[in-house]
């Protein structure tokens, strides 16, 4: 099993969710996060005062899938979240040792 952690642009959430639903991935965890990569922050001027936006609002999506599905998922996710500009985000992939469904003790792929 693999855990996919994707940092995406907030306005891409609906597209990403739809694309993932399209390949049968419905379950995910979404959190509001702030940070920056190479995009760094930028400066806004409001009423003469410079106002530094150094941590940009992003969304973090976490999904765990069976090994057999992860390439497809990453491809779908990248396509949906891409605008081609700086700030599109990143995807990190982790190996998952075990998954357990608390309700009935299902394990492994069956618990996903």
């Amino acid at each position: 099993m693999k855990k996919i952690e994707a940092i995406i642009q907030p306005f891409k959430l609906d597209e990403v969710k739809e694309a993932l639903a399209g390949i049968g991935v419905d379950g995910m965890t979404i959190s509001e996060v702030r940070g920056h990569g190479r995009q760094k922050g930028h400066k806004e001027v409001y009423r003469g005062r410079e106002y530094t936006v150094d941590l940009l609002p992003k969304l973090k999506i976490e999904v765990v899938v069976a090994d057999s599905r992860y390439e497809e998922l990453v491809k779908t996710l990248t396509n949906a979240a891409r605008t081609g500009k700086i700030g599109d985000g990143k995807i990190f992939v982790y190996d998952v040792a075990e998954a357990i469904r608390i309700r009935n003790d299902d394990r492994g792929d069956a618990a996903l």
Binding site: Q9, P10, F11, L13, D14, E32, V33, R34, E44, V45, Y46, R47, G48, R49, Y51, V53, P57, T83, K85, G87
Partner: protein, 802 residues
Amino acid sequence: MPPCNDPIRALAERTALVDGMVEGFARERLWPSFPAGLTLMAVGGYGRRHLFPYSDVDLLLLVESSRLAQDAPDAISAFIRALWDSGLRLSHSVRTPEECAEIHDQNIELNVSLLDQRFLAGDRALYARFAERLPRFLHAQRDPLMRNLTTLSRERHRKYQNTYYHLEPNIKDTPGGLRDYQLVRWLAQIRSVEAPQIEPAFLFLARLRCFLHSRAGRDQNALTFDAQEQAAVYFAAPGAAQWMRDYFRHARDLYRAAVREMESSEAQSSSLLAQFKDWRTRLSNTDFSVARERVHLRAPHALEADPELALRLFQFVARHGIRPSAAAEQSVAAAVPQLAQWFSTPQPVWPALKEILSLPYAAEAVRGMQETGVLRALFPEMAQIECLVIRDFYHRYTVDEHTLVALQAVEGLRGTREPAVKRYTDLLSEMEEPALLLCALLFHDVGKGAANGAHAEASLRAAEPALERIGMPRAERDLVGFLIRQHLEMSAVMNSRDLQDPATARHMAARVETVERLKALTLMTYADISAVNPSAMTPWRAEVLWQLYLLAYNELTRELETSRIPSVPSETPQKRAFLAGLPTRYARTHTAEEIDAHLGLDGVFRQRGVALSLEKVAAAWRLTLVTADRPFLFASVAGTLSSFGMNILKAEAFSNSQGTVLDTFTFADPTRTLELNPTEMDRLRLTVERVVLGRLDVRQLLQNRPKPAPPSRNSEVRPTVSFNPEASDSATLIEIVAQDRPGLLYDLAAAISAEGCNIEVVLIDTEAHKAIDVFYVTAGGRKPETAQLEKLGGALQQACGG
């Protein structure tokens, strides 16, 4: 499951069954070791024979002395074990009569459980001793008992945000749940008064709790969405949403009774506090008296002849934050049918409502109007959303409650110090008419009662005739209508558009058209999101919304210079020539009548070289001037107004392609000179004309006026002066924020002109002693040079006192 139509009987039957078990086990295990000196008592819910299917069984073992209990611990253990093993969830305690008559601040439940005690079995003489003591104890400890009970209940209410409108309520603990029913009865019992009539609500909840327990097979009191579906079938209601409205009505009755009972107890228990609170009695007037932190109607029967008394009552609430007394609420509620009749024909009550919505405790007043039924009498449109449930995972409240919480979110902005929130507070203080924002919030979701999907349009359709009926002027209805129609727009842009993309800023700016509307819509969005659930407005969302506001604000400011009205071939030649080249903002912020009036001035200007009009608008005056542009013009007029002691609130200076300028100054007349001396109006007009035509030097006028004290360095607004040469192709943007003072605008404009700069566009706004000034300037037809701007920056800073 067969419907339980008589919950009281079902509960009593279960109680009798448990009584039998307890007595049986006691006979076997207890009485052989305790022929005397031990009594079994039922307390709490068991004591009052309200034993729900899976409720705890509260048992008190009353012992002669603690030594006696220690002498035969095995017998007591065996008895308790037997009850446990028979499947009862037992909650027991062992006490002496003396221990029962102590006040337990840390264990209020023990004291309270005794209010529902009854004898089960054992030593009758011992019970008699206890029963004799109990009334004396209750009387002597009345105040601490009531205080502990209300403190505990208020904590519980707070845990649930003090509202009974929860989409998945816990029917025992949520405000308006069964605990509030007990609270009302206990407080009445302690105070030796009759408890109010709340049995119908109790019967409804008791039946529901029996159902929930049987359904779950345990002590389950959460009314989840699933449980609501099944309960609606069980109660033979047409649907879950409809049935939940019944639930909320009963919960509302219980919650209000509980709050009233707690208030009466507090008033009774703390005479010192009451005296302290009574200082507010000085707020009393001919309509109302204030006593014990409540507003009372002096003549409740006057409501029949004077329906506006009800609105005046809520104005009083909105002004002072003092709630109506229970009696006043009842009188108003009783008058609702007449009020509804009176409001059903068009009545000019908007000024009264506007005042309520402008005052510091507006949200509290509107809540009072809703609870008494006045709001619905005024706006029958509100009936559509009463107790209306939105069944999803995000919404915590029913639609009517969401509306009230949104009003509270605006009210909550005042007085916050949180930096992420403070900037929204600043926006609110910059709004000219916050009442219009609150009015839009009141109606923004009314359409949810009728429509599926696009409710914003449905809300607008409901609001328009309602606002017309109460006499809201056209211009105000336009803003309210705009806010209702667009209330989802900023949320939608936040979620679906790239904020870094310049097209997003242009889109947002085109939607709102003016900075004034942008501010109102930003606050509307802030309040709407905040009222979805207590944690919906995360710092993350507040940040994203603020960034969107910034983008649109900067775009609108940039547009002032860059976006000009093109030549419109369909217009008359004079109108075409006048409009061409004015900023787009001009067309957006003026009605057709105003544009016609300006055209008239343009005609006069062509003959006489200058044209002006002076008129009273609401609490201020407005001077409109059309003339040919020339250096120092704007500064001269601002200076002339200052020399008359006028305080400039807003100003705009626009020029068209032909170099004709249209300046408008809105100003306050603090000493009412113009109003009291009509000749002064003529003198002001004439003086401005002479200054504009160069026949009089404004510096001469200002010479004899005392120089105003420079603003204190401790003033709330730190002055900022900034230049943005990139804002437009042909001019440089100067933005100034400063503490307002008389003559400030003259000093700023004069400094700009003295530096050889020409003022192309001006937009001045003053709210809450803060002047927000936007100038676009050129020098010799081009953007000023850097060195020139540096010098100008110093002069402007000095004028601001920075």
